[in-house]
Amino acid sequence: MSRRPYQREMTSEWIFRHPRYLRYMTREFSCLFIGAWTLMLVCALARLSEGPEAWAAFLEGLKSPEVVVFHVVALAFAVYHSVTWFNLTPKALPLQMGDEFVPDGAISGAHFAAWGVVSLVLLYLAGAF
């Protein structure tokens, strides 16, 4: 037979083939930071259960420059993840009202609004203002 279909190899360069793939990997990569932050939260709970001295030491440790940088980066990734997530939500949860569908902007907008409200409430409870 003369046929000889050629299989092109897929290398990891696909990530750089178009900005959308880079954006996707960034979103996925954010899970590392979010995971790390979650571990830190578990540590915090552990220290809290060990008594006021352990807790104070933990809080002191949070002020070190490396930890602050980590928090800033983690927050940036978490925000990026949330923004992309909310923007994608209307695709997963289409809402039909009458014949037509609620515009995507309204659904993601509602999510952002709820996020904003919850954030404000938490900040208030934490004594930020």
Partner: protein, 247 residues
């Protein structure tokens, strides 16, 4: 009005003469309003009749002419040369084996299309003599978007999951299954679930969303797949926590 000479860099492959694909460059005098397909046709007619590629309708409805144009999956009949500068690189659609030049082997796609049972499985058989099913515009809109797929496979070329995991059923096939699931005349969701809610089905998708980006018909297969995931999850919970409910 506008004539412009463009350079096409086309990936060639003839299994009888080539051990692997290689690029060939063509200089093509183009009219301003041409699409890449027009340039390819000029190559075939006036420069190199050995170039093989698929095309037919030239109006983005038959789905034949999907190719990689400067690394992006596009329909050659809708890639306007005016949108490109410099050399235009034309390659066969990614993630499919190359048969010859720009012609890919699409057997895998055709198999997957069939596996998802893309046809009405009626809840109750209705005789033609009893007329049409009533379907309101609202019910039609629930699935209409997903029925617009022209089977061009640009989504498969854009999807890194499909590229890395060839067993993945893929965007168009799952979106088509979803189209039938959403159709008020259909009762076959349970049967389709076996295919599309399996590991090789919707759960292989990590919502890259590239498929919906490149879809020329705005089908939004990514959305369809997430909706399938949600439905499957709800199904699973219902089945395990409320087994007394019929599916």
């Amino acid at each position: 009005m506008g004539e412009r000479t463009i350079d096409l860099e086309v990936l060639r492959y003839n299994p009888e003469t080539d051990s692997e694909p290689h690029f060939q460059r063509y200089s093509v005098p183009c009219r301003e309003e041409w699409v890449v397909l027009d340039a390819l046709n000029h190559v075939k007619e006036a420069i190199d009749p050995t170039l093989s590629y698929r095309w037919s309708c030239h109006m983005a409805v038959c789905g034949s002419c999907g190719m990689m144009i400067n690394g992006e999956p596009k329909l050659a009949c809708k890639a306007f040369v005016r949108d490109y500068e410099g050399i235009i690189r034309v390659e066969p659609l990614a993630h499919f084996p190359v048969e010859r030049d720009l012609v890919t082997v699409i057997d895998d796609f055709m198999d997957k299309l069939k596996r998802v049972r893309p046809y009405i499985i009626p809840r109750q058989v209705k005789a033609v003599a009893h007329g049409e099913h009533l379907q309101t515009p609202a019910e039609l809109n629930k699935f209409k978007q997903y029925s617009m797929c022209i089977n061009c496979m640009l989504c498969y070329a854009a999807c890194p999951e499909y590229g890395l995991i060839p067993k993945y059923i893929g965007p168009a096939a799952i979106a088509l299954a979803h189209r039938y699931n959403q159709d008020s005349r259909d009762g076959g969701r349970a049967q389709r679930q076996e295919e599309i809610a399996a590991t090789e089905g919707a759960w292989e998708c990590s919502f890259v969303g590239a498929c919906s980006d490149v879809c020329p018909e705005h089908v939004d297969p990514a959305g369809a797949i997430q909706q399938v995931k949600i439905r499957s999850t709800v199904d699973w919970y219902k089945e395990h926590l409320m087994p007394w409910l019929k599916p």
